[in-house]
């Protein structure tokens, strides 16, 4: 069970490397959502990557180097660390402590990990925002990232926030539980299997008849939206933070 702080006047923001590289505007949307609830957001510029790509490729020393870098970057305060990605959040919350088990840094890493939350989880459980939908009626499809679902367990929070938006209908996707085939380096190490998975996922999303699909993880987004675009599908994908922000400011 996660222990949520009762309130959060200050929060750190870990934007993730993928947001920084390809989707900084979605990262900004997350910051705005936090600020909207009166939170002072700290976003240390030295932050980089949670280390998951190297971790899942089996390169643990390199992962530790990068992980420890993040631990140090956020060591100057005790405030929560909010992450707009279930996958990166799970890496930092659940896998960092295992990586440093039996090592001198373990206690320090544990203190870091306990402060990590996924964005919608933090909003829904700590900040309790009230959203007023300002947009026209719209149908959306929701894709759960595997680690958001199975490790961070924050899908219910993402959906709870969406449920506040009156004019938004969330449509179910066939085989919603199934991985989109991204899997970090899996997508380039087993490109054929990954391609088969993303094809099926994109087809299931397209079949819903939604106007856009939403995700809480930019890895899935880059994968699925990248495929849809290649197929010249009109369906676009958005990070949930961007969508929420757009809806309440439409």
């Amino acid at each position: 069970m996660l222990h949520f702080p009762a309130s959060a006047p200050v929060a750190n923001y870990f934007g993730t490397c993928l947001v920084d590289m390809c989707y900084p505007e979605y990262g900004m949307a997350g910051i705005r959502l936090l600020r909207r609830e009166g939170v002072e957001v700290l976003c240390p510029p030295r932050q980089s990557c949670c280390g998951q790509p190297a971790y899942n490729s089996g390169f643990l020393d390199e992962t530790r180097t990068v992980a420890l870098h993040q631990v140090k970057v956020f060591a100057d305060n005790d405030a929560p660390i909010v992450v707009p990605s279930g996958s990166c959040a799970a890496m930092m919350r659940y896998h960092y402590p295992r990586l440093f088990e039996g090592r001198p840094e373990h206690a320090e890493v544990l203190r870091f990990s306990e402060r990590v939350f996924e964005l919608t989880q933090f909003l829904n459980n700590v900040l309790h925002p009230a959203y007023k939908d300002a947009g026209a009626p719209i149908k959306v499809a929701w894709h759960s990232s595997c680690h958001a679902r199975r490790e961070m367990d924050c899908i219910k929070d993402s959906l709870a926030l969406l449920a506040q938006l009156e004019n938004v209908t969330v449509l179910p996707i066939d085989n919603e539980h199934e991985c989109c085939g991204f899997g970090g380096t899996f997508s380039v190490k087993q490109p054929e299997i990954s391609a088969a998975m993303v094809r099926d996922k994109a087809a299931a999303i397209a079949k819903t008849g939604a106007e856009v699909f939403l995700v809480g993880d930019c890895g899935c987004l880059m994968n699925i939206a990248g495929h849809l675009e290649k197929e010249r599908s009109p369906m676009r994908g958005l990070h949930i933070a961007e969508f929420l922000w757009e809806r309440i400011h439409a």
Partner: protein, 473 residues
């Protein structure tokens, strides 16, 4: 096999549209069945915890439990044999068969006898061994290996079965499942009656009582264990529970996870050979305990968890990779997540290292495993072992992957120096469209557009927004 061969298998499987449609259908049913039985999340979590505890206790003190099992079996008149390798195990079965002057055997479905290639050894030595599980019977007729660990002929349609039976056992073509079953039963009855030795696998061997338990739905395992003069049960040395009282829970978890049944049609408990005054039963019962790499696994705290596996097949049924490529593409006795986890450990990374790459680590397998084997973590561990000179898995360090090591150490440099990091992004943003689509980028763009790198990072946007705010105040 090498990754290139695996890639070829994968391509073939992915292009097999009928097989994929069939798999989608069958696997959806498996999933629905399991979910129908375990429909209360809280209860399921508690059951998995309890089942995990039962198996953890066993694999944590395997030597002690095995000794106890051997003593209890001996007290029941069950003869216990130890086999270090698959070859040894097969030879033990051959020797037992010869010792009673026999050469015909019947066998019920057992993955461990696939692992040791028992049929091959026996046939090479003049014996005849007949598979009696309907699915296994079908694939034996066409010379294939099991497609799925609990449903060996999952990939064969009833029309194909009709054609196979017509050709191989000489019946008139039919695709009526009832008639096909009746024909198989008629054919096999005679084999059961004539067989000298019946071979079964083992689902649970009870250390406390020396009882061999076999789960099945067709009754053929019961025939194998009771009709011939000799019953030989073959098992990996991890398939043990401590106490008789552990059985109800473990049976429920195994059967429910495998087929969604509340209980299997048959549950056989073999307590020893026929005793004076008994009406039936074999004169001899043997238990072959196979190591074949398992004690190496037991020596490592993390890898040891692989030995908790019940071979229920749930991880196959929930794996998005298995669902698309099926069982044969892996070219391994155990396919799917459980195979990915155990094959490299049993047989070494040289031969099966490619399997560890065939996972997106989505976690679906670990989520459903009835004994909570952390399959994704163990697969990740195998990726570490591949280039770890001090590893614990056979052939560890086999793939020194110098290029990849270099790439990751460079990556670590970039990710720990903000200047380099921003520079990398800007370079990619500037070059993005111009980079040749080869290597990883080529793999990515085969079905997706290129990633679009942003010239500005998150920190840039934040700075701009804050400046704007200040300006407007």
């Amino acid at each position: 096999m090498h990754n290139a061969d695996f890639t070829r298998n994968v391509a073939k499987a992915l292009n097999d549209a009928p097989q994929r449609a069939h798999l989608e259908h069958v696997i959806t049913n498996f999933m629905r069945g399991r979910r129908g039985l375990f429909n209360d999340d809280e209860e399921l979590a508690a059951l998995r915890e309890a089942a995990n505890a039962v198996k953890r206790r066993v694999v944590g003190r395997l030597a002690e439990v095995l000794e106890r099992l051997e003593a209890s079996c001996a007290a029941n008149g069950i003869q216990v044999h130890w086999a270090e390798t698959g070859e040894e195990a097969s030879n033990i079965v051959l020797d037992i068969t010869r010792s009673v002057g026999g050469k015909t055997l019947v066998k019920s479905k057992s993955m461990v006898t696939e692992e040791i290639h028992l049929n091959k050894t026996l046939e090479a030595n003049g014996c005849e061994i007949r598979e009696t599980d309907l699915g296994e019977f079908i694939i034996q007729l066409i010379g294939q290996t099991p497609f799925h660990i609990i449903a060996p002929a999952l990939h064969v349609t009833k029309e194909q079965v009709g054609a196979i039976f017509a050709e191989k056992i000489g019946i008139d073509y039919t695709e009526d499942p009832d008639r096909l079953q009746a024909e198989a039963r008629r054919f096999l009855r005679e084999r059961f009656r004539r067989a000298d030795v019946g071979v079964t696998g083992v689902n649970f061997a009870v250390a406390e009582t020396g009882t061999i338990c076999v789960v099945e739905n067709e009754g053929n395992a019961r025939m194998c264990a009771s009709v011939p003069r000799v019953h030989v049960a073959v098992t990996g040395l991890e398939k043990i529970v401590d106490r008789l009282a552990d059985l109800p829970l473990m049976l429920r978890m195994l059967v429910g996870s495998a087929t969604g049944q509340r209980i299997s049609t048959y549950f056989n408990m073999v307590g020893g050979p026929r005793r004076p005054g008994d009406q039936d039963g074999p004169e001899q019962v043997h238990l072959v305990l196979l190591d074949n790499g398992r004690s190496r696994m037991a020596g490592d705290e993390e890898l040891r968890q692989s030995l908790q596996c019940l071979r229920c097949g749930a991880c196959l049924n929930h794996c998005p990779v298995f669902k698309r490529i099926g069982g044969h593409a892996y070219a391994a006795t155990y396919p799917g997540p459980v195979g990915t986890m155990v094959m490299p450990q049993l047989k070494g990374l040289d031969e099966y290292g490619y399997m560890a790459l065939a996972s997106s680590l989505c976690g679906a397998c670990g989520e459903v495993c009835p004994v909570m084997v952390p399959i994704p973590s163990i697969i990740r561990r195998l990726r570490v072992e591949a280039h770890d000179a001090h590893g614990a898995v056979l052939d560890h360090g086999h793939d020194a992957a110098r290029m990849e090591s270099l790439a990751w150490s460079l990556w670590a440099k970039v990710m720990t120096s903000p200047g380099l990091n921003a520079m990398a992004r800007k370079t990619m943003a500037a070059l993005g469209g111009a980079l040749p689509a080869v290597g990883p980028l080529g793999a990515w763009t085969s079905v997706r557009v290129r990633p679009k790198f942003s010239s500005k990072g998150l920190a840039d946007l934040l700075r701009e927004e804050d400046a704007k705010e200040k300006g407007s105040k």
